[in-house]
Assembly symmetry: C2
Homo-oligomer: 473 residues x 2
């Protein structure tokens, strides 16, 4: 497929072979848990991005921090790349072996190490997924709110600084990771942070690692903040005559300081897709999907305020989902938007944008983008964590039509430029990966990216930790 | 005074003289704003820590980012230390010129650059103090919640990752800084972050700089999150028969998930000090000083819950401060605790501890500490941001009695060991500075501190940015 794609849209490949001595050492230590089978390699060599790249040479299934450290020490010795692999749900090519090497599969490190319910904290191995975590801690009356849609691993969510639907109230991975166990590029094991809620003890290595996309170390254990399950939860749908009205409603909700727990936009295309995929009968217009958490009276107060704002903006009547079952159905539909969208155009791949702007600029950013997308003729849908100023345009592109791919990339460039001019970011939650390196320079400036590169070189002088991501070389 | 203090309690001095050519260049560029007058140097060469150290050789009063960059470029050229100076309220020796050099006074960079009320953000120069900021933005209906007590500069608060009384609800500087303008060790100016509420664009340099104590760069402009002034605010005092009861009450409030805005402990000694200093008549026993923010009904709900918890723990009746004037009087008294404490023992200096532990461990940490402090015979008082698990024992020591100083340091060591054994931190909000370098190693481990040192060396190879703080050389 790549043959049809113009070279400037392809990632730079620079494979470094794994020396026989390292293969030997890994096979002897890990036995069948070190695999060179093509199917296993291929599974670890693709994600939800638009790229096709040769797979890693080897996959090692690790079961402990010590095992990860052993792999990294060998990689250090032989200057071979390692790529941490969690649930494979990256959208930006984070997992792709552009410089070859070894995929470290962490999915067997899926133990909830310790729930400290009295402190509202939990320590997990990095292969635990967010749904598994919430299932395992449900009895405690606590929950972990960060919800990027996919059932990602907690390690992967750390690596990309993920957020998603609940971030408008509970923050992102940036705000919710207290401490990390990390295997460094030399194979040493360090601990960053403690379980104290706050600390001024030296550099904030935890926050430096969160969002580092596997390029500075492999996170193997993660201590997270938890929250009491709210006494009352209420979810509502409100449909609007146009996107502008839905966006105005969102902006006013945030500016009023309503502590809304979720505030999601679906455009008419997204609603159509989930109707078809989940056999729903939602009105096929722009819609806000909202959730309110609090005490029963607190939730009622929030609802009164939001209903008034929506009515002032020509919102149609609220539809309520009061029972947990109805709410689950609604949010499941929202989370299916991605796969529902794919099915709108069989055989397509998606190119998904991820800009995030200050809330007052959201209308400026979104409405011009919709006009451009409509004019392009490429099928698309929009979903957005609009309470945070973050939305995704998913272009459904024909993988055999390089012109369509180019057109979608061009639209993304235009959107990113617009977001940057509005003091926003090229990526709210998906990360840089392979796809946004140039955007990072445009956003942060060459000097700032140089500082990042200096940090990378200092901590990973042999460039073995997921090389070729965030910045070239 | 230092003559009497044992050598192991003194900071290592390693002054690097400022070459004549650099003095010349600074005087010619800054004129009278470059001062070598002893009084000015001495004012910039001390803080609220226990140390006496020779002052910096020069003080330069900068008025713009460009001027800071010019000073740092000269410092780079001549390998001379620079020390950013805000309001001088550090407790850990951050400002002290242990390796000589130039103090960069930022207090004239005191402009609120832009209030973006619609986005709940503001950009300020780093010399703006927190009280000035709140005065200047009051008309917008917004406020900046972080309140470390002292009227610190926003730059200083960033440098130490400050928090204080409101952090239990609003977080610390870690959670409330969106973006920074930074002068790097080479005198280059970079921008980290944007005004977007969240981002996954590369390494989180903002969070790496916040808490870096001036050792990685000089922050000159800072973009902060703001919050709508709550509709309703209510403050209350509750006195307890003993500290254990006050601590149990705190733990239960937090575990119930009450969104309390302030939850402060004063021990009987602290109450006695503020009574005397502020001419109040508070009951001279352990006390919680609390504040509730929200809608009128939300605040009422919080109060009902907290009153019940306090009553279950033998709390005496709540006293209310409903009007803004009463509240101000109360919080002013709390903020005077430090100076009120100093006056309890004329001529004393304070050695202040700053441990922070997970909330369930707070009783374990605090009660044993009180027993030790009582047994020591050294006058002391305790104030604490106990909702976060953070408290300060302030030992009032006779500067002419080295044995007392040693005894207080020993008590601090015991407290830090206890906090670390409870998975806490040696410093919740004051920073490492000169005073806690050994504690940092004990807390984070030598390997983790090595990673920090690697970052420092990479970003500041000539070791000119506030050298000798956080870690030796």
């Amino acid at each position: 497929m790549n043959a049809a794609i113009p070279a400037h849209l392809l990632p730079k490949l620079d494979p470094r072979p794994v020396p026989a001595a390292m293969v030997e050492a890994l096979k002897s230590r890990f036995g069948e848990r070190c695999s060179s089978a093509l199917a296993v390699r291929q599974q670890h060599g693709r994600d939800e991005s638009v790229y096709d790249v040769p797979p890693p040479e080897l996959v090692v299934f690790c079961e402990s921090t010590d095992e990860v450290a052993a792999v990294v020490r060998l990689a250090d010795q032989h200057a071979v790349p390692v790529i941490p692999y969690g649930a494979g749900s990256s959208l930006e090519g984070h997992l792709l072996a552009v410089q070859g090497g070894v995929s470290i599969d962490l999915s067997r490190m899926n133990r909830v190490v310790e729930l400290q319910a009295d402190d509202l904290t939990v320590t997990v191995q990095s292969g635990v997924t967010r749904m598994q975590l919430n299932n395992e801690i449900r009895h405690s009356g606590l929950f972990f709110p960060i919800d990027p849609g996919a059932d990602a691993s907690i390690g992967g969510m750390c690596a990309t600084r993920a957020s998603g639907t609940n971030a408008v109230r509970y923050g992102t991975m940036r705000e919710n990771v207290l401490a990390l166990t990390v295997v460094t590029a030399t194979g040493d094991v360090i601990r960053t942070g403690t379980r104290a809620k706050k600390s001024s003890a030296g550099y904030d290595l935890t926050r430096l690692l969160v969002g580092s996309e596997g390029t500075l170390g492999v996170m193997t254990e993660i201590t997270l903040k938890l929250y009491p399950q709210p006494e009352a939860v209420s979810a509502a749908i409100c449909s609007f005559p146009d996107i502008a009205a839905a966006v105005r409603t969102t902006i006013q909700i945030i500016q009023m300081g309503v502590p809304i727990a979720r505030c999601e936009l679906l455009d008419a295309n997204a609603v159509r897709a989930v109707n078809r995929h989940d056999k729903l009968t939602l009105r096929e217009g722009p819609m806000l999907l909202m959730e309110f958490h609090g005490t029963p009276t607190g939730v009622k107060e929030q609802i009164v305020t939001v209903e008034q704002i929506a009515a002032d903006n020509a919102g149609l009547a609220f539809e309520w989902a009061e029972t947990p079952e109805e709410r689950t159905r609604l949010w499941t539909a929202r989370h299916h938007a991605y796969f529902a969208g794919l099915q709108m155009r069989p055989g397509c791949r998606t190119l998904t944008t991820d800009t995030c702007v200050p809330i007052s600029r959201l209308a400026d950013c979104l409405l011009d983008t919709v006009a451009e997308a409509d004019a392009s003729g490429i099928p698309y849908y929009i979903v957005g964590h609009v309470g945070d100023g973050n939305f995704h345009v998913a272009y459904l592109i024909d993988p055999n039509d390089p012109q369509e791919r180019e057109a979608a990339e061009r639209l993304n460039v235009q959107l990113v430029r617009r977001a940057l001019s509005l003091d926003g970011t090229c990526t709210g939650e998906h990360g840089i990966g392979l796809h946004k390196m140039e955007f990072l320079v445009a956003e942060a400036g060459a000097g700032t990216v140089d500082v990042m590169r200096t940090l990378k070189r200092a901590l990973d002088p042999k460039n073995i930790m997921n090389p070729g991501k965030i910045f070239a070389a």
